[in-house]
């Protein structure tokens, strides 16, 4: 009886089931301006994270669209806002930004990354894509260095003709 009572008390101390978990509000404008080109070319294709139902679902110009009428258009502000929520929600409480799941999954195992079905895309934490995404996830504003990293990543990833 004591054990059962103790177990009931412990259950009562746990988080309320169904209660919303607050997540960080990431800057959707910065996402659209700086991070989207990186995510678009390396993460958001229709075969990878451009799929409804994935834990990290990403909208992108040539990937999944919020609405069919957006096909052929640039990423909308609403889609950017949903993407910001998806990135924040995939790891709501990282110990530090460097431990964020969205950074560890594409990072090589040698550099401390974790298994990712869609390959280990970044060899180390100096990779421009990593630097770009990390700066945005840190949620402290994108400085000139971060923006330069995003631009460099986009140039390396993009297949569009100049």
């Amino acid at each position: 009886v004591r054990a059962a009572a103790l177990a009931l008390l412990l259950c009562a101390c746990g988080p309320e089931l169904g209660a919303p978990l607050p997540i960080t509000e990431l800057d959707a404008d910065d996402y659209r301006l700086h991070v989207d080109p990186v995510a678009r070319f390396s993460c958001a294709s229709l075969e990878c994270h451009g799929v409804e139902g994935r834990p990290l679902r990403i909208y992108a110009e040539d990937g999944l669209r919020l609405d069919a009428s957006l096909r052929g258009e640039a990423l909308s502000t609403e889609e950017a806002a949903w993407n910001a929520q998806a990135f924040a929600g995939v790891d709501p409480e990282p110990e530090s930004v460097d431990e964020h799941l969205a950074l560890l999954k594409p990072l090589s195992l040698e550099a401390g990354g974790i298994h990712h079905v869609g390959e280990q895309l970044w060899p180390d934490r100096e990779d421009p894509s990593y630097v770009c995404l990390r700066a945005w996830l840190a949620n402290e504003g994108m400085d000139a260095g971060a923006i330069a990293a995003c631009d460099a990543a986009e140039a390396a990833l993009s297949w569009e003709e100049p």
Binding site: F41, L46, E47, R71, W159
Partner: protein, 179 residues
């Protein structure tokens, strides 16, 4: 007697499993079509690897396959388009579309770097291509290059399914529609 009970239990358990989502999609392919042909020209525009992808029950499987159209809203594919696929190791695989616009790259074995093309849309290769893949398509004097690499999906139609939609880029086509 025990064996009989186990067999009955297994049969009942299997009956409870029902169809997977992929099973349902396979059943839907070709519904309403007057087409009994199971050859290389069948079911253009459908996700080929759904039925012909790697399986533990078959030695041979498609690595990449799809259908090429001239214009975005065409419903009939084009014959004679050349599809060039370059894998992560720099190996180039060429396939030529057949009468319905279909092409398919079939892995016959896993022991050589050979590429053998036939005239019915089939290209045989002796290796599994390594992702990411880069693709371009040529037809007469037309050429289109895919903007993003393919990272895991061998069926073109998984992303290029019929008309453009929220989850489809639309068919693989070569000529911009007239404004």
């Amino acid at each position: 007697m025990d064996a009989l009970r186990v067999t009955i239990a297994l049969v009942l358990a299997t009956g409870c499993l029902g169809q997977t989502p992929d099973d349902r999609r396979r059943d839907e392919i070709g519904e309403g079509e007057d087409d009994d042909d199971e050859g290389p020209e069948h079911h253009p525009g459908e996700p080929c690897l759904l039925c012909h992808g790697p399986s533990p029950f078959s030695r041979e499987a498609f690595a990449v396959a799809g259908t090429v159209y001239l214009e975005q809203h065409d419903t009939a594919g084009i014959e004679g388009a050349h599809v060039f696929i370059e894998d992560a190791r720099g190996r180039t695989i060429e396939a030529i579309t057949n009468r319905t616009g279909n092409f398919y790259v079939e892995v016959e074995a896993d022991d050589d770097d050979g590429v053998r093309i036939d005239d019915r849309g089939k290209t045989e290769i002796g290796f599994w291509p390594e992702y990411p893949l880069h693709v371009r398509v040529t037809y007469a004097d037309l050429e289109e290059e895919m903007l993003s690499p393919i990272r895991r999906e061998g069926s073109c139609s998984e992303c290029h399914y019929r008309e453009p939609a929220s989850d489809s880029e639309g068919r693989i086509w070569l000529v911009e529609p007239a404004p």
